[in-house]
Each structure stands twice: as structure tokens, then as C-alpha cells.
Symmetry: D2
Subunit: 380 residues, 4 copies
Amino acid sequence: MTRIRLGMVGGGNDAFIGGVHRIASRIDGHFDLVAGALSSTPEKARASAETLGLDPSRSYGSFEEMAEAEAAREDGIEAVSIVTPNHVHFPAAQAFLSRGIHVICDKPLTATFEDAEAMEKAVAESQALFILTHNYTGYPMIRQARQMVAEGALGKIRLVQAEYPQDWLTDAVETEGVKQAEWRTDPERSGAGGSIGDIGTHAYNLACFVSGLTGEELAADLQSFGAGRKLDDNAHILLRYEGGARGMLWCSQVAPGNENGLRLRIYGEKGGLEWAQEDPNYLWFTPHGEPTRRLTRNGPGAIEASTSVSRIPAGHPEGYLEGFATIYTEAAEAIRAVQGGQSREAVMGVLPGIGAGLDGMAFIRACVASAGDNAAWTKL
Amino acid sequence: MTRIRLGMVGGGNDAFIGGVHRIASRIDGHFDLVAGALSSTPEKARASAETLGLDPSRSYGSFEEMAEAEAAREDGIEAVSIVTPNHVHFPAAQAFLSRGIHVICDKPLTATFEDAEAMEKAVAESQALFILTHNYTGYPMIRQARQMVAEGALGKIRLVQAEYPQDWLTDAVETEGVKQAEWRTDPERSGAGGSIGDIGTHAYNLACFVSGLTGEELAADLQSFGAGRKLDDNAHILLRYEGGARGMLWCSQVAPGNENGLRLRIYGEKGGLEWAQEDPNYLWFTPHGEPTRRLTRNGPGAIEASTSVSRIPAGHPEGYLEGFATIYTEAAEAIRAVQGGQSREAVMGVLPGIGAGLDGMAFIRACVASAGDNAAWTKL
Amino acid sequence: MTRIRLGMVGGGNDAFIGGVHRIASRIDGHFDLVAGALSSTPEKARASAETLGLDPSRSYGSFEEMAEAEAAREDGIEAVSIVTPNHVHFPAAQAFLSRGIHVICDKPLTATFEDAEAMEKAVAESQALFILTHNYTGYPMIRQARQMVAEGALGKIRLVQAEYPQDWLTDAVETEGVKQAEWRTDPERSGAGGSIGDIGTHAYNLACFVSGLTGEELAADLQSFGAGRKLDDNAHILLRYEGGARGMLWCSQVAPGNENGLRLRIYGEKGGLEWAQEDPNYLWFTPHGEPTRRLTRNGPGAIEASTSVSRIPAGHPEGYLEGFATIYTEAAEAIRAVQGGQSREAVMGVLPGIGAGLDGMAFIRACVASAGDNAAWTKL
Amino acid sequence: MTRIRLGMVGGGNDAFIGGVHRIASRIDGHFDLVAGALSSTPEKARASAETLGLDPSRSYGSFEEMAEAEAAREDGIEAVSIVTPNHVHFPAAQAFLSRGIHVICDKPLTATFEDAEAMEKAVAESQALFILTHNYTGYPMIRQARQMVAEGALGKIRLVQAEYPQDWLTDAVETEGVKQAEWRTDPERSGAGGSIGDIGTHAYNLACFVSGLTGEELAADLQSFGAGRKLDDNAHILLRYEGGARGMLWCSQVAPGNENGLRLRIYGEKGGLEWAQEDPNYLWFTPHGEPTRRLTRNGPGAIEASTSVSRIPAGHPEGYLEGFATIYTEAAEAIRAVQGGQSREAVMGVLPGIGAGLDGMAFIRACVASAGDNAAWTKL
């Protein structure tokens, strides 16, 4: 099985998420990183490429240059990971999609809704795959939860309680030289959403992914507690889903003691499910009127939906990187399938793509609009 | 130390909360139950009195009869516990307050807002104490949390996340002969609030008690999932507190796997606190930027606010009944202080009284009004 | 139902366990404390009696005086609680047993094995009941565990892992005026066992109570880590039970971070059970090959063995005092049954009595003997 | 940075641990797997090599063949992973060590003590590195614990409580075609230790690694509960460490509900530490007399010892594979350092090597000897 040749846009030495993508691409051995435009600063790009052992001739100063050069090579990249701040997602993706190079792109889809619509068009006009790394959908117990809901283990869904608290923006660290905080609190680079874009979209995506429901409307109260902060760092949201289910979504970057507290609880007429990202190998399942069961990854009660994306036995914890790697592995399988002649539509499976990206952008837009109208109900 | 002579209205053999009040009144040995109007059915009242070993001559057929007779006795009751469905709270309390007998009353204050205002008047016109059993305020670690917030351990409060999920009304058990469910889902006996009255008021009371904040306005989305159910069994609420803090409150009786999941999380500029009723001997405290500490009842880090209402050493769990007993014990101390000549205002300490009761009724009223206006913001 | 008249030996104002017994005796309302020899110091005895509201004429200077006087009264005590240091258990119990007064006695049974044998004789020669407060057997989920094991839910038992770590003797606090530490580390008052007597007997009792097994032999490595400490403060013990089951028992008073960490895990051919005293409302049950279930007190899956000793609904935590109260309540029922003419043997049910006490003394003796012989196997 | 050329012995398609080693070798990108003798069955070896995308010419039928051929190639492997059943460890390692090829070998060191001594000699006579994958030492919070103990955070160590329960051999699955069970319960392939070799060595290694202590003697009670099982499947062990610390070690493969329950608790004069493999991102630290702290990987309180082997931020769980990968990454760094001219002794850092392997074998030997002498104390 030969590896897929991968390029990367962004992800220089001081970026967090670039390293995550690289590890994720390596875990199951389906990709070789062979090219990069790793930084908007040429020097940094060079240094990063060297650290990574890239052939210097394939370390590019810009994504445009890289797209053009790699498309021209016989052994050019087959896929590219885009791990830049949000405002670069669209132009970078377009450069590769238009040349038939598959795109694996970080979330949220884009910084603006206009870019999102342009992205949709670019995807439509390309034959290449577009995969959005809503990585939390790759956790085995999330796959199991989704399948259990789909099979009716909870009955008709009534409630979807999602939350995603963090604490890293409790102080105004964006004014103290923390790079991750700088661009994430800057509307120019992040877009209209602060916490709602960075983590709220993950929570909303996961709520829909597991419940199988579509959001209908929401009422959002957004706050910016950090001194001088331009974007929201906390959001309290009421949600109404199609079919009558109701939900709440809380995301925060100012809740001390919460590191990465993504948590999902879903309740239906017949049972409930609870899952927490920080302890991802457990899924708590209560058939109504019976004792709660602790389902474990690859343990008793695990079903194919989870065991098929699990690498090691129960009790040997898999984590964030493995869930992320599953997205890469399924991307590799989809890319090979398309290369083997299958239609793009047939190969995506549960992989998040342009649709999930647009849903996320609609979520951000609705939150901002609702908050601007005193938390009035706003259609998604 | 002689015991305070106590009567009880409601709390017959098949009532849950009556037994709780009786145990709570006994734990610290400050009360003797000597009289009762234990049921609206005379036969049941007699049977219950017999089980409890009451003097048959002090088992009454109605609270009016009891109030009159006991007030006339030299050794009549000094205080009465009212543990009936909500719609009886006001008439019963009035009968005793008007005769100078101290009242310990279950929550919510009354079934209707009109009754609540009448109750306020009855309390004002009496010399007797009125204590509302918002029992969760009696938990030692809740006392500690309140004190820590008051002393600034969290800095200025930003977020108050309260939730209270249960699952016992997942099915429409009120149609299957479950007495507790029957009156709690009946507007005639419960009032305008279902879950918001029964448990939402507890969560809101606790949020205010610990945070020291006053709610300003709320937006509430109420649902009745149970088939044919007339009152809400789930509520999703956004809250705005005075001073700029924001919060959410979720209460539910239809969330399978949740038995009595009252939980409070408070975050400020300098730290966070988390507490869960089902594991009440722990308080999780995070000074921002430091590791989270597990504070335990009577353990290292416990302060006088909690140790003074704690009976046994750390590691020996106290529970729901002990927290409830603390309300009774503080009621006894207040009663003795008033009997000793102190003013009613001087003796209440942190005991919940008519004010907390009115706050709860305002909460219910605002929830219902907001929900009737599509979750519009409504003043508290 | 009239209350049983109770006396108390020991349990003055500064004693921990006396207060626990008093609360336990009150919770379910079966006893009235009417007499006491609360301290070996007459002044303290008087002061304590006053605090408790005892009739001064029934506050005695010694247990002998109390036994004689109360036995002579028509309204004399029917039962007595003995809550002194261990070396007083036997003489005090004998004084009451010989007069037909029922005895509720703290554990371990006595300070010496000679006293234990004398106690056995005293019990045999009396008509009165003798109840030993191995209070942890009163926890509802312990009762449920015992019943599940008895009914074969685990199959044949293979392993019994018991542990009871604490940390309060990490430093040599007995030299710093901590009264609880003084007598517990003094061979004259405690007997030959330090941690093994104070808490090891609890763990061993619980292991046998739940598993239904009898210990056959043990190998014990005892340590005294505290500077100058005469008795063990840590014990590592291997156990062999009749029928081939094996176990370990660890008790410690020098394990920082452990408050009262009694924990029991039992494994058989068909399943496993886990329970921890600090979170006593949960019982974790794994039928082999199936997901682990979280059984809760009074929740789904609760059986009569636990619900019958449970006071309030699931999710409303009961704790240490309630478990202790169950011993008192069952003692009251046994006393009334004997008073009603039933035979002493017929009324004890699962209540720990002289047999459990002797088992505990045999455990201490075997531990000390084994440790003295370099942890050689020693018959129980 | 070019990758190190790696070969593998064992680890064919149906082996669990081979896949783990491969993922671990890829995560940080330091190795390329280029050759293999993946199975003792040539057909399986070929099929496995094909699945892995190995050049067919470098898929060998035996480790001898591979060692000879690869040593002869200019681009031959620089290191080899040995992931066979235990009895093959020595002959395979010798074949590579004698040719100067670095060896990364699974534990326990060998099947017999004779082989272990031969292995020691082979390592001594080679210039190549020998690394034993005691992978649990690679967990960040284990590194932090070790460093904290070394710096005196606990004071002088008194107690080391280690346990490692599993449940997968509860039934005699080795008779039902479960390959992992077959060789692990076969003395020919596993050696004299069953559970003590497979998992007990891990627990003992971790206890010593974190505490910094050396075991002096032990008393072991071994059992074989599985029907017809020849090796121990449960072990209860008392331990005495140099300097006066005492400990217990329990390992089991027959404890239903335990998946991979490796857990370590260490207590000293000044504090305690607790860690559990199934929730590896947390370390619970109690300075005596202060509240327990929950230290998290890369969170507040994390020190260089843990952050340096951590890949992603706090709250994003790393797991078993990442800990394993750290061993591989440090092996890569050691290999490069040796290739760069440093002495073998200078580059091992905390990596487990032949010494740790011999300690493990001594542990197995002492356990078996002690158990054969009715759990008599036996020198390590």
C-alpha cells in the first residue's frame, strides 16, 4: 500500500494544530508529508521545513506557488492539509481544489460567510475531495453513540445538551504575545465568531453528528469578558432542532478549571447517553429504568461503528490524536477510492465535508445575528 | 437543652418529603414531633400518627383544627412543618403564623403568585419565624463555596452554570398511579410551574445563594415532553444577573440516567468552583492558572463556614439528610433566639425565608411569561 | 411506637464516636438517650450530660454506678451504648449484660483476647442482646452486594481485595495532644492492634460480610512508620479464605490523601463488584463479558436487601450516619422482638454480634502473630 | 532529519502488540519500517508484509535470514523491533545485537532466566543499544511523578501500592482459540510467569521507576484460577524495598470489570501520589495536610519532565500509543546520539534497558520461588 503524497499550508514550528495534523497523518501510515508552505514568513517556512525533513525544493513561500509547482510535478502532492488561520482557508483551498488536489481543511470553514459560499462553489466545480477536520467525530465512542441513536437505542430524541468550556482566555493573553490567542480573537483572521467559531462549531457539529438532528433555530447570548476583546469568549445558546428536540449549547474560553471540556448529553424517550472528550474512551448509556452502563472503547457492548475505528484493546486509552487520525485514515480511503474511479459522493461516508462546514458557518452567523438582536430566535 | 415541640401538616405515610423532614428534625435532636395533621384523609392521618407514635389526641383532621387546638394548649407546638402539596402552603402557614407559631415550610413558597403575596403579608403581620426548606443550602460544601465567593476567591463572577436533571417523569407515570407525579404535574396543586417549580427553584436559589448575585432577567424555553402533561417537564433558561454575570439553568425531569443531578459551576475572573449534589462532600476549586483542588468536607482547606455545619470527619460522607438537618438545626437556634428575646431579623442568618420564597415565585412567573412569549427576555 | 430507653458509656463532649452513636440512635427515632456515664472524669461527665439535656440524676460517674442504678429503676434503660476506648468495652459490657440490659458496643470487641473470651462468656450467660457496631455493614449497597453474592451473581468467589487507607497518623500527632490519636496508639487502651484493630477489623469484617467467606489463614507485614509509635500504623496482609478464594487487605493510617478510603472489590467466576465507602451510594457490577453497571441506592436494579435499609430516593445521597443508623434501627427491632418473647438467636438477622467481634479479635491476633514471625502464614 | 530504518521480528497481521509498535514508531516520525520477519509461518509473513507495504525482497522467512541480509545491505536496517512471544526474544535479539543493529525488544526480557543472562552477555558484547519497551514509563504523568518523587515532594517514601488487574482470562479462553491467550498461558513460550510476567513485571517496573526504590525481597502467593491453566493468572505479593519502604503488588487476569487497570499509589512522609493507566492524563497529588490537587498533562503544575514528552495541550487526551511512542522517540534520539559518536551509556536517559529487563526477570523468579515455598520471603 503506497502512501498518499501530502502537502501542508500553514503549520509552521510555533503552530499547535499543524503538529496535530502531521501526527494524525502518520499514525495509520497512509500519508507522506512531502511539501509545504508552512508559514507566511519565508524564513520561518524554511526553518519549519528543515525541522520536518522536507526536501528544500518543496518548501514553498506561498500556497499559490506550491499549488502551481506541485500540480506540475509528476510526483506532486495528491492532497493538501490547510491548517492556517481561518481567513486563509478559502483562498488556499481554492488554489488546490481548482487543480484537482484533494483538500483536508481545518475548521471553521472560512472567516466569512461570503468565503464559505465561494468555498462551496469551488468544491462544486472541482473533482477533488474536500474534508473538514471536525476531528471529534473521529472518536470511537462518538461513532458508537451516533450509531446507537440511529438504531433507536434512545427512542425519539428530546434533548441535546452540548457544552465546550475552556479557560485559556480567562485573562487577556492576546495582549501578552500568545500567538494562538492573537489570531483567534482577531475578527480579521477569525471572522465574526470567537468562541462560537473556534469551539462552538465543534460542539454544534458533534450534537448534530451524534443526534442525527438538524438545527432549526437558535437564541444566543454572547459575551466578551476579556478586557478589550473584540470577539465573544463565552456563548449561551438555546437550540430548537427539527422534529421537536430542544437543546442548550454553552461554549466558553473563560471558565477556570476547564481545559477542553467538550461534553455531549443526549436524551430520548427510551434512554440517555453521555460522553466527555477528556475521558473519551467511556460512553455512559442508560436505558430508561435500568442501571447506567459504562461502555468502553473495544470493551463489552462495543459495536462495529466504534471497533472499526479503534486500534488497541479496551483499557488501553486512545485519545485526541487517534480520533484525529481516524479522519485522516478515512480521508486516505476516500482519496484512494476516488483515484480508483468511484464517484466523490460515494466515498465520503461519515467524513465531515463542505456540508458540515456550511452548517458551522450558518451556526456562527445565526449566533451573531441573534446576539445582535438581544438573543432573538434566529433561523439556522 | 429542651427540645422544641413540633407539629407537622402533611407528610402522611405515603409521602416522601414528610419522612425527610422528620428525620431532618431528629438528627441533631432539637425537635420533638408531638402533633400532626398528617393527611387530608382522616383515616390516613390517624394511621400515620399511630405509626409515628403521636398521642392520638394530637392527631388532627385538618391544619385549622390543629392550629387552633395547639395554640390553646400550654404545651402546644412551638413550630410546625408544612410538607403538603404547594397549594396548601399558604392557608396552612397562615393558620399558624397568625397564632405566633413558627413555620418551616417546604418549597416552592406557594402554588400561585397571589398566594405568595398573601404569604408575604402573613409573615409580615406575624411575630413568628418563617423558614423555607431550600435544603440544598444546608450542604457544608455549599456553605464553603458561598463563603469563598464572598471572600473573593473567584474574583468578580462572570458565569453561573446551574443544572438539575432528573429522569423520573420520562414516562407519563402520573397516569399510572404514582402519587408524587400526580400532584406535581397538576396545575391545581403545583401551580404554574412543573419542573421549574419543583426543581428549577432549587437550582436558581442555589445559584443565587452561592454566587451572591441577584437575577435580573431571563429567557426561558419550556417543554412538556410527557404525553398529555400539562406542566413543563424540561426548561432551558438563559439568565442575566446584576453586575454583568451571565448564566444558564437547565432543569429536567425527562433525562434518563439522571437521578437528582443538581450541579452548580461558578466562574470568575480569578477562578472557578464546581459542585454536584450527588457527590456533595467534594468541592472542586481552581484558582486560575493553578491545578484544580478537591476540597472535602472537614478536610484540609475546609473553612468555618463548612466545618460549623459538618458533623463527622472528612471521608465519612454526610448526605442529603444531614444538609436538610442543618436547616432544621439553624431553625431551632433561630427559634430559641427569638424565644430568648432577639428580633426576628437578627436570627435568620443564612436561613432561607420569605425573601427566598418570593424570589423563587418570581423565577417561576418569569419563566412562564417568557416561555409564553417565545422565550423573550423577562424581568425577574 | 414507644422509644427504647438508652444509656451511654463514654462519648463525652470531646469524643468523636459518641456523637456518631447519638445521631445514629436518633435518625429513625427508635431510641431516647436518658442516662449516661459519659466520661471517666466526673466533671466532664456532668458537662457532657448537661449539653445533651440528660436529667442530672441520671448522669453517672461510672458505668458500674449507672448499671446498678438503672437496673433498679422501673423506667431504667433498656439498652446501653458503649463507646469508650477498647479496654473498657468488656468490663462495661459485663456490667450491663449481667443485669439483662442490651448492649450496643463499639468495635473492636475488646483490647485483649482474654477480654474477648470473657466477653463471649458474659454474652452467653446473659439473656440480653449484644450488638457490635460494624457500622459499614449497614450501608445499603453493602447489603445489596452481600445479597448479590449470596444469590450467585458473581459465581464462585475467587478474589477479595479489601483496603482501608487513611492519612491522619502520617505525622506523630499522638505526641501533639490529639486525643483520638493518643488512645488509639496506646497498647494499654487499644490492645495489640493499631491500624489493624481500628480499621483493619472493619475491612476484614466487610470482606467476610459481603463475600460470605470465612478467613482461613493470613500472612501479615505490619509497620509503625510514625516516630516512636508503639502500634502498627500500616498493614499489608495476604489472606486465604475457605474454599480457595484468595485476598489482600491493606490498611493504613499514613497514606496522605486518603481520608477514610475503605474499599471492597470482589471477583468471582462470573462477575465482579466494586464499592467504595466515600461514594457509598454506588455499587459497580460487572457480569463477566458485559458492560459495567453503576447500581445506585434505590435506583434501577436495587433489590430488597438495599431498598429496605434505604430512607430516601436515588440521587439523594445517604451517608455514613444513615448506615450507622441502620445498625441502631435493626438493634431496636431486635430488642423489641426479644422483649416480645422471641429468642435471642432468632432476632439478630445480619446484625454483627459477638461472633463478628471474636472474628475481629482473631484477625488482630493472627496479624500480630504473623508479623512477629516475619509474615508467616497464621491460622485465623 | 532522516528517518531511522527499522525492521520488525514478529508482529504479523493477527498479533496485537506488533501493530502497537508500528504505530508508536510512526507517531513522531523518527522511523521507517523497511524490513520484517513478521511471522514464523512464511505465508503469513508474506501476507503481513504486503499489508504493510514492505518491499517483498525485504520480507524474510526468519529473523536469522533477516539479520544476515540486512546487515549486508548498505541501506540495511539500523534498528529492529522484536515483538514475538517471550521465548524468541533472546535468539532474535542476539542475531541483531551481534551485528551491531540496535534492538527494541518487548517485555518481559526473555522466557527463562538462563536466556536473560545470555541476553545480558549479548548486550555487553555488542556496541548496539538494547531498549526494552516498558512503555508505561513513557506516560507524561509517570515522568512527572518520578521527577516529583526524586525532588522530594513526598519526602521519604513509606508505601508503594501497585496493582494491575485485567479480566480477559476469567474464562479459559486459551482453550477456545484465542491466540493471545494461548502463548501467554504456555510455559514453553511465556516462561515461568503467567500474569506476573505479562503484567506483573510492568507494575513492578513502574513502582521502581517512579519511586526510585529497589526491591529487596518479596512474598508471593500465586494462583491459577482458569481451568487447566498451567501458569499463574493472579498474584498477591508483599514487597520490601531498600530503605524501609513497604508495598503490595496485585496483578490479575481474572478480575471481571478490569480491562487494563494498572494503578500506582505512592506515599511518603510528606505527601502522596496516585495515578491510573486508564485515565493517564491525571496525576493526583496530596501534600500532607493540604487539599488533593489534580495535576493534568501539560496543565498548571506540569513540569518539564512531563511537558517534554507531551505533544498536545492539556485537555486533549494523550493515551497508550503516545506513551509508547515516547519510548520509540527517545530510542531514536539515543540511536542518533550513538551514531553521532556518543557512548552507549551516555544516551539511555530514563529509557528502560537490559537492567530493567533483568530486574523484571528477577521479579518473576522470586515470585515463582516464593510461591513454591508457601509465600516465604525471597530475595530479589
